[in-house]
Symmetry: C2
Subunit: 311 residues, 2 copies
Amino acid sequence: MQKSDLLSVYKRIEPHVHKTPVHHSRLIDEIARCEVYLKCENFQKGGAYKIRGATNAILQLSHEERRRGVVTHSSGNFAQAVSLAAKNLGVSAHIIMPTNAPKAKKAGTIAYDGIITECEPTIEAREKASKKIQKETGASFLHPSNQLEVIHGQGTASYELLQEEIDFDFIVTPIGGGGLIAGTCLFVNAFSPKTKVIGAEPANVDDAYRSLISGQIETNETTNTIADGLRTNLGNHNFPIILEHVEQIIRVSEEEIVAAMRLVWERMKIIIEPSSAVAVAAVLYNQKVFQGKKVGVIISGGNVDVENLPF
Amino acid sequence: MQKSDLLSVYKRIEPHVHKTPVHHSRLIDEIARCEVYLKCENFQKGGAYKIRGATNAILQLSHEERRRGVVTHSSGNFAQAVSLAAKNLGVSAHIIMPTNAPKAKKAGTIAYDGIITECEPTIEAREKASKKIQKETGASFLHPSNQLEVIHGQGTASYELLQEEIDFDFIVTPIGGGGLIAGTCLFVNAFSPKTKVIGAEPANVDDAYRSLISGQIETNETTNTIADGLRTNLGNHNFPIILEHVEQIIRVSEEEIVAAMRLVWERMKIIIEPSSAVAVAAVLYNQKVFQGKKVGVIISGGNVDVENLPF
C-alpha cells in the first residue's frame, strides 16, 4: 500500500483513539540484552489496540449502513473495541461472544453498551449467530482480523511507534487472527522498510508458524493457551500480507508467557494481558535473534481478570 | 522555603531520577465526578517516589561521609530507594528491614546491592539495629520520612506534577511517616499556593488524622492495614510542615483501599500498591470534597507481591 493511503487511515482514526505512550525499562533491557520499547496499547481506549481497526471500519460505512448498526464475533478485546467505537460514533453494536469469554472482557463490552449474544465457543457457532443478526437487523459485519479496513486500522499503532525516531531493527507483535501483524507489516514496510516484523505465537497454538512454512493457512487442533486472544486462525485477507512481509514467527511456551507477563507487571508496573506477554517472551527468550538490537513490541492489550491470575 | 532553594533541590536530583508521566482516564473521572490526574511514581526508579529523597540526602553528604556509606531502616520502598540511589552514586547502603517486609520489596533491595540486616517488626528493634551499624561502619543514617533532605527530595514529584499546567484545586498524597506530604506541601505552597494539599490515610491507622486535630504527634495502637507503607508515625521534622499546610486528612476503609486499587488496575492498566490506592480511594469516596474539581494524586509506588493480592 502507498504511504498516502496509510496516512489517510491514520488521519481518519487519530481523533478517535489515544496516542499511547512507549515505555522502556533499563532493567528489562539488561535481562533481554537488547533495547526493548513497549508500545502500550494496554492504555488504549477499551484496553487494547483493537479500537483502531474497529474505528477505521465503521468510519468507512455509509450513513445508511451506520444506521443499521454493526455486528461482530469476538473472544474479547474486539468486542469491547467495536462496542466502544460504535458508541463513540453513535452506531449500535451487536456482539457475538463465546460463553467462556473472560469475565472482565464481557463486563467491558456491557459497559460500552454492546448488545451481547452468547454462543458456544466454536468458530461455526460464532458465524451462525452472526449471520442470524445480520439477517434480522441489516447490521454490517466487522471481522476482528480478516477484513482490510480493520487490518489497516490496527497497523496505526506501529506507525505511532515508528514516530518515536528510534532506529528499530525489529517490531514484534503477537499473532492470533493475523490482523495486528498484517497491519503492522503494511505500515512498517511503507515507513521503515529496513525494520523487520516478527510474529510471536504460543507454541501450543502455532498455526501461524506452520502456515508460514507451508505457505497455506493451517489450523490448530487445540486452543490450549493462556493467551486467550491468540486462539484463532489466520484469514485469506491477512495471510498474503503476512506471507510477504513477516521475517519469522517465534513460538513460546506457556511458562515463558507467564514469566514474561510477571516480569513486566513487577518491573514496569503495567498490566499486560497474556497475549501481549507472548511478544515480550519472544524477545526475552531468543537472545540470538535480538541481542544488541533495538526492538519495538506492540503490547496489544491489558484486559485480564484480576481474580484469575496465573501467579 | 524559598522557591530558589526548592528549585536547587529539583536541579540536584533531576539527572538521577525519572520524570514520571501523569496518567488520566475518562472512565475514572466519570466515576469520581472530578478530573483526576495520577502522577505515576510507580514508574519511578525502584518502583516508588522514595528515590527522590534518598538521592537528595546522599548528594548532600561530604565525600568522606559517602565513603563510609549510608544506613536506613524501612518497611520496603525506602530500602529499595536508598539501595538504588546509593548504587547509582557509588555509595554502599545498609538496610535494616523487618522480618515481615513484603517479599518483592526484599528482592528489590537485594537486586540493587543493598546489604540487608533483618530485625523484628518494631520501631525499637529497627532503631537499635541501625545504631549498631552506624557505630560499626560510620555510615550516615537516612530517615525514610523525618529528615529535611529526604522531605525536600520527596516534594519534587509534586513540582513535576505542577509543571503539567493543570490548574489543580487539590493535590492528594498518602500519609504514612509524613515525608511525602511534607515535601509536597513545601513545593505546592511555593509554586501553586492556591492548590490545597490533602492527606489520605487508612482509617485503621489514623495517627496523622488525630495528630492534625490534637496538634501533637499521635501514635497508632495497631498497624492493621493492607497499606504497608503507611504504618509508621509522623516525626518532629515533618509534623510542623504538615500542621501548617495540610488542608485536611481523609480516612478510608480497607474495603475502599482494595476497591480503588482494583479499579486503577482494571481501568488504567497500571499497577499501584495499596498505599497509593489509599489516596485514590480518598478521591473516589469523598465526592462532596472533590466534585467538579481538578485533583492531582501522587501515586507513591507500585511495589506489590503479585502472589499475594487482595482480589
